[in-house]
């Protein structure tokens, strides 16, 4: 399989995006008749996801003699095609597909630039996909920036809408600062190690750390560099204290954009974080573990406390997604390459991301459904939803319970894994703070459930018309959420192969 074959999913996305773009330029069927473009985008995404699986299948044939693990393949010297990347890609594509199915109508009704939208949409997927595989900080940075810049435009896509505009601008300003900071950190890493390949950096640091006479030397550069890079990546993953953009952006952006920003984009950021810290900074584990732990605590606490005060469900979900990032980070804190247990931190991160993706996409889709029908995101719009749209309310409840971490949903499994990993590494205080936060979080999730179910008698109940495509997406999300919670075995297997392969390259 050649290099091009290995990045076939990305190429499909590229071709799909450019094709849609050209088609949109060349052929104008008239206002409101461009929905065909969204089907094309979907087709490209499906094909890409399928190709990831194909690449994965063809990839695992070669087994290393040393570690008895499949050898990751390198494409174009900067992309590692391994199980880890493939897992992340499939997760991302799943999120993008679900968003695309549900969000097509939303965007088509609000913007006349469908051609651009679907092009950007595919390109964002492409960027995330590259970020998931990138093994060189040059490409990591470019992919993150590609993702960011395209996202800025998508966040501000409804240019006649003041909120969307403002969301785009704020996202841009915060995001650019963060990426510049990250770039500075990368430049310091380059200075200290002379390379930007993550494994080279890891090897160089391992060598420096191994040589006791030199430890005080260039290793000194690692800590500031690490912090700066963390600032940039933490921004994408909306970790405190870099999360201020998230609520504003999610709130103001078109809901499909907010949906993927809070799920797929976050998944990509965590993939990069994992690759960078677990592989690249393996020699400095003692340094970054406390930092990440502190970030994790601040993130979940700040996110939860802020979410408590919100009256807009969309904004509440935005803050909640900040808090969820804190939980996920907890898993990253507790990664060990020596762990034999399936309940390892990295597994926890991946599993959490996987489950969280379906849950949160679902939750945002419900918000989108309400926006579509009653044009509001305020919690009062959800009052008595059980009478107006029973299935919508039930599914939203499933998602909210999953976000709370109630068993038999995917969210529980993710939480159990990250808590488990923390317990395993004996970070009891971290887990304890997680518990307290779970309690706080339950409060604001339940507020929505209360509004939906605990109705007064006199309220009017007009049935809501939820579009078919949205329902389909929602159903998939709900089924997936419950399925992961009830029968997680295959997912755990999958996750394990992914993380084992990533950890096998840690020097």
């Amino acid at each position: 399989m050649g290099d091009l074959g290995l990045i076939a999913p990305e190429i499909i996305l590229l071709i799909g995006g450019l094709f849609i773009f050209c088609l949109d330029l060349a052929y104008d069927p008239g206002v409101g008749k461009k929905s065909g473009l969204s089907y094309m985008a979907l087709a490209a995404l499906f094909l890409a996801a399928a190709l990831v699986a194909v690449v994965l299948q063809l990839n695992i044939s070669e087994i290393s003699e040393v570690s008895q693990e499949p050898v990751p393949k390198i494409a174009f010297s900067m992309m590692t095609i391994d199980n880890f990347g493939s897992f992340i890609k499939v997760t991302i594509f799943a999120g993008m597909i679900l968003t695309a199915i549900a969000g097509g109508r939303y965007m088509n009704r609000r913007s006349g630039n469908q051609g651009e939208f679907w092009t950007f949409f595919l390109m964002v997927s492409l960027a995330m996909s590259i970020a998931a595989s990138a093994n060189n900080l040059v490409l990591v940075y470019l992919a993150i920036e590609f993702l960011s810049i395209t996202s800025y435009m998508l966040a501000g896509f409804l240019r006649d809408n003041r909120r969307s505009n403002e969301a785009g601008l704020k996202y841009f300003l915060y995001g650019s600062i963060a990426s510049a900071v990250m770039l500075y950190g990368i430049s310091l890493l380059y200075g200290a190690t002379g390379s930007l390949y993550i494994h080279d950096i890891a090897a160089a640091f391992a060598e420096i750390m191994g040589d006791s006479s030199q430890v005080s030397g260039l290793a000194f550069a690692a800590l500031p560099a690490m912090l700066l890079v963390l600032a940039g990546l933490g921004f994408k993953a909306s970790l405190a204290p870099f999360y201020q953009w998230a609520p504003d952006t999610y709130d103001g952006s078109p809901t499909p954009v907010a949906t993927y920003l809070s799920t797929a984009s976050k998944t990509a950021a965590f993939a990069v974080l994992a690759r960078f810290f677990v592989v690249g900074m393996a020699s400095f584990e003692v340094n970054w573990v406390p930092v990440l732990a502190a970030f994790s605590i601040i993130t979940m606490t700040m996110g939860n406390l802020a979410a408590l005060r919100q009256h807009s469900v969309k904004r509440m979900l935005a803050y909640s997604s900040v808090a969820q990032a804190g939980y996920i980070l907890m898993g990253l804190v507790a990664v060990t390459s020596a762990s034999t247990s399936a309940m390892d931190g990295l597994n926890g991160v991946l599993l959490y991301l996987f489950a969280y993706l379906f849950t949160n996409v679902g939750a945002f889709l419900v918000v989108m459904a309400l926006e579509e029908t009653v044009n509001s995101t305020h919690i009062n719009a959800y009052r008595g939803l059980i009478k107006r749209a029973p299935w919508l309310a039930v599914m939203f409840t499933v998602f909210l319970l999953s976000l709370t971490g109630i068993p038999a949903t995917g969210g529980f499994l993710g939480k159990a894994f990250v808590f488990g990993a923390a317990i395993q590494r004996q970070y009891f205080w971290l887990a304890a703070i997680g518990v307290i936060n779970a309690g706080i979080a339950a409060f604001y999730y339940l507020r929505v459930v209360r509004a939906m179910f605990f109705t007064e008698e006199e309220e009017e109940d007009q049935p809501l018309e939820v579009p078919m495509a949205l329902q389909t997406s929602l159903l998939v999300c709900a089924v997936a959420t419950i399925w992961i919670g009830v029968y997680p075995s295959p997912v755990i297997d999958w996750v394990s192969t992914a993380s084992v392969q990533l950890l096998s390259v840690v020097p």
Binding site: F76, M78, M123, A143, M153, P224
Partner: protein
């Protein structure tokens, strides 16, 4: 060279002397960018900074980069910024302070940051300069080859990004 108070300063070579000039101009211009009350003057100072940085690249024997810097930063980015300032020129007047309400915090933060980086840059035992730069024309060739071999993915990504930025910027900023 000994300054008053007994501070020892090594006598700079001619090259270092010129570098100090360039660096000073760059730094002062950089400071002017963020302190000037007049936005347009900020933009002018920014342009000067870009030139200064290009000069620094020349010192680093990266002429191609220096020219690219002028071409893109001065020729495109500074121009765009000046253009945007003109388009939003009503923002220039009637404002009492160009700083937002957290400027105090940010200035402190930036100062601390600077001192940290400074200490870091001075304290770290950076390796000594390596060998001579390869001959100029060959280097440009090598640079070009890097772009289409090792860095081909990054290069393509950047190209795609530029295309998307173009399309998106037009879409966003276009008048109805």
């Amino acid at each position: 060279m000994e300054l008053p108070l007994g501070i020892q300063v090594p006598i700079p070579t001619f090259e270092q002397f010129i570098f100090i000039q360039v660096a000073l101009v760059t730094a002062v211009a950089g400071l002017a960018v963020v302190t000037s009350r007049n936005l347009f003057h900020s933009a002018l100072a920014l342009t000067l900074t870009f030139f200064g940085v290009a000069g620094v690249y020349v010192f680093l024997e990266a002429e191609f980069l220096a020219v690219s810097q002028v071409l893109v930063y001065v020729g495109a980015i500074a121009m765009l910024i000046a253009f945007a300032i003109m388009l939003t020129r009503s923002m220039m007047y009637g404002r009492t302070s160009p700083l937002n309400n957290q400027w105090g915090k940010s200035s402190l933060f930036a100062l601390l940051f600077f001192m940290g980086l400074l200490a870091f840059a001075r304290a770290t035992p950076w390796p000594a300069a390596s060998e001579e730069v390869i001959a100029d024309e060959a280097m440009i060739g090598a640079l070009g080859r890097e772009f289409v071999t090792t860095y081909v993915i990054a290069f393509e990504v950047l190209g795609l990004l530029l295309l998307l930025a173009l399309v998106g910027a037009v879409m966003l900023a276009r008048d109805r």
